[in-house]
């Protein structure tokens, strides 16, 4: 076991970090529409050209490097479906180009990327399908920091024979958990900065123990989610994947409430970056839920209950 980055991982993260610092980040998201962003095709193109979107080795169950890259992408608030591409697509056993959206079988209603995706990955109880979305899937007004389309039923067909359904679902869980970790860390970091700078009663508000304890619990929750997600990405274990998603989902509730609370009115403004990260968590949590309620899924993976 080794919790430090090896030289290769460090180099990869360095490189993707440089790319993201130029072409992603909160300013870029504001430019794309802020909490109602368009899809960042330009970023996807750059990530693809640099080879980051195909970093997972097909056939290998270890997707740790892909998860590390995804965490960085999510932490820079990219308006991209890179998560599905990095962690879910390599399990399908077929080539898929362009942005993808992942939805449960029978889904109808809002889904991230549904209006922008070239491909929908539909996860059923015992099958996985790949379909082209009706171009009619309309972009709807959503203000949770993602481009969202409205699916009005799913096209038929496209079943992938012998697709490992439960593995696909597990990797979808790891992807959502990892995206949550990126967004949560962003929210936590700017909150720590804010409470360290903002003074009331002649002291930094971050020196009040109520605030400290609230944020310390957030940090512990996010750390737990991060390391479970990375471990799951390394081992491919379904149990760990489910635990990672449940941990991330629970953590996201704490992060959402507390980071806003400790910002006071400032956190309520559209100009400030906080909401770009926190609102995203709500969308991610709803998608986590459509993979099976996370905590219950964790119990099921471990005991079949």
């Amino acid at each position: 076991m080794d919790f430090t980055l090896n030289a290769h991982q460090e180099a990869v993260l360095d490189a993707v970090g440089t790319l993201l610092s130029r072409h992603a980040g909160p300013a870029r998201l504001h430019g794309l529409g802020g909490d109602e962003p368009g899809y960042d095709h330009d970023l996807d193109k750059r990530l693809a050209e640099a080879g980051f979107l195909d970093i997972a080795e097909p056939g290998s169950i270890c997707r740790l490097d892909a998860a590390l890259v995804l965490e960085a992408i999510a932490g820079s608030l990219a308006s991209s479906a890179a998560g599905w591409r990095l962690l879910v697509v390599p399990t399908l056993g077929v080539d898929v180009d362009g942005p993808v959206a992942v939805v449960p079988e029978g889904h109808s209603g809002p889904a991230r990327f549904a209006a922008d995706a070239d491909t929908l990955v539909v996860i059923g109880d015992d099958h996985v399908r790949l379909v082209r979305p009706d171009r009619g899937a309309a972009r709807i007004r959503s203000r949770l920091g993602w481009p969202v389309g409205d699916l009005n039923g799913l096209p038929a067909g496209g079943v992938i024979h012998d697709a490992p359904v439960s593995e696909v679902r597990s990797w979808a869980r790891v992807a959502v958990a990892t995206e949550m970790v990126g967004a949560m860390q962003f929210a936590l970091d700017i909150t720590v900065q804010h409470v360290s700078d903002r003074r009331q009663f002649d002291r930094a508000i971050g020196s009040f123990q109520a605030v400290q304890h609230g944020l310390a619990e957030c940090a512990v929750a996010v750390e737990g989610a991060r390391w479970l997600a990375l471990e799951a990405a390394f081992t491919g274990s379904a149990g760990t994947a489910a635990a990672a998603l449940a941990q991330a989902s629970e953590a996201s509730k704490l992060i959402f409430r507390r980071t806003h609370q400790y910002h006071g009115a400032m956190g309520f403004t559209r100009e400030y970056d906080l909401h770009l990260a926190t609102l995203r968590l709500l969308a991610l949590r709803s998608e986590a839920g459509s993979l099976g309620r996370p905590a219950a899924a964790c119990a099921r993976e471990h005991w079949g209950i």
Binding site: M1, D2, F3, T4, L5, N6, Q9, L64, L68, V192, V195, S196, R203, A204, G206, S207, F208, Q209, V211, Q212, H213, L215, A216, E217, A219, V220, A221, E223, G224, A225, W227, L228, L230, E231, F234, T235, G239, T240, A242, A243, A246, Q247, E250, R293, P294, A295, A296, A297, C298, A299, R300, H302, W303, I305
Partner: protein
């Protein structure tokens, strides 16, 4: 970064499991009392003796003192396997993990020769005399006074919440040797025989187990100066270092995960249905155990690399307390009315989870440390 177990750790684990399957099929009965009663202590002595014969009681000690040079990961495997069987080493767990190493680091040759072999053989029980009625979280305010008189210290004062005080042979005792010094500076560590004249041990009935802990009253107890561990008035550093040997402390998550597993399996075997609310609680509890596990592993990895202690240990401790609590909630959700039956899993876990956030450093103190050291939030 990678999350595989090394070959040597895997084979160590399976060797250990084979031994335990024979020695301790199922869970140790004594585990139902969180802090050992006298009966449990007898079992623990026997069990620790068996481990000692195998070289598994103090594997991480230097070979000079009966160790086998085991790595921190092997020690972690040992801790996990034993805690997930209810910690049959009982009180001896402290001896081998930090009392022995502390004596090795600061003891004289005579102290090492006298105290270490019995610990390595599993022959002896120690207790920890830190807390006092007026010194809990604020341990450095302790007042038990030791005054030099010839070759002895004469000690007066009292200790409280001393686990195993009634069955221990020795006490790792914190006393104040210089009342005028800055409070962290005037503290010393004394190794006290529990049969010293002037020492009275009174059990304090606790919520967990039958004799949870004790109170020690010291009236003119004479402790030889030769029993002082480390320099006079430098006890605070000695004890801080001692407690950081472990960094994350006991792998409580492993025991909590075991209780959860047994409670779920118990319900399934009896054909009881687990309603959706309980399934949810079980999932949250399992998740918390998993998070605590991986966060503890991160700390073990640091230790295996000989890195200095870091706030990751505080993060892991917070996660462990949360896991204990959520397992208690899950057991209660599964067992329903069974919590009214004394000794049921839900009853016991509720009690243990209460202790988890208090004993060995409170939850709030860990949060203080996470705030300051990990998040670097400003001081008040």
């Amino acid at each position: 970064m990678e999350f595989d177990w090394a070959e040597e750790d895997l084979s160590y684990r399976s060797e250990l499991q084979a031994f335990l399957a024979e020695e301790l099929p199922g869970r140790w009965e004594g585990a139902t009392a969180v802090l050992g009663s006298a009966d449990n202590a007898e079992y623990s002595r026997r069990f620790a003796g068996l481990l000692a014969e195998k070289g598994w009681l103090t594997p991480h000690w230097p070979t000079e003192w009966g160790g086998t040079g085991a790595t921190p990961w092997m020690l972690a495997v040992l801790g996990e396997e034993l805690w997930s069987r209810g910690e049959p080493r009982g009180p001896q767990y402290m001896n081998v993990n930090w009392i022995g190493p502390s004596i090795m680091a600061h003891g004289t040759v005579e102290q090492c020769q006298r105290y270490l072999p019995p610990i390595a053989a599993g022959d002896v029980i120690w207790c920890q005399g830190f807390s006092e009625p007026e010194a809990g979280t604020d341990l450095a305010s302790l007042q038990t006074r030791a005054v030099r008189d010839g070759d002895d210290y004469v000690v007066n004062g009292s200790k409280i919440w001393t686990s195993y005080g009634d069955i221990a042979d020795h006490c790792y005792l914190l006393v104040r040797t210089d009342p005028r010094a800055e409070r962290h500076r005037g503290i010393s560590v004394l190794l006290m025989a529990m049969d010293s004249p002037g020492l009275v041990v009174r059990p304090i009935p606790g919520m967990v187990g039958e004799h949870s802990f004790t109170e020690l009253f010291l009236t003119d107890v004479r402790i030889p100066v030769a029993n002082r561990l480390g320099p006079e008035n430098e006890g605070w550093n000695v004890v801080r270092e001692a407690l950081s040997f472990e960094r994350v402390g006991a792998p409580r998550w492993a025991r909590a995960a075991l209780v959860l597993d047994e409670t779920v399996r118990g319900a399934l075997e009896q054909g009881r249905s687990i309603d959706p609310m309980a399934v949810e609680a079980v999932g949250l509890a399992k998740t918390a155990c998993e998070a605590a596990r991986v966060l503890c592993y991160r700390v073990i990895d640091e230790r295996a690399r000989d890195l200095p202690p870091s706030p990751h240990a505080n993060v892991a401790r917070v996660a462990m307390v949360q896991a204990e609590r959520l397992v208690a909630d899950a057991c209660a959700a599964i067992e329903g009315n069974e919590i009214m039956r004394y000794g049921s899993d839900s009853d016991l876990q509720m009690r243990k989870s209460l202790a988890a956030g208090v004993a060995a450093g409170t939850y709030e103190v860990q949060l203080n440390l996470v705030s300051r050291r990990h998040l670097r939030l400003p001081k008040g």
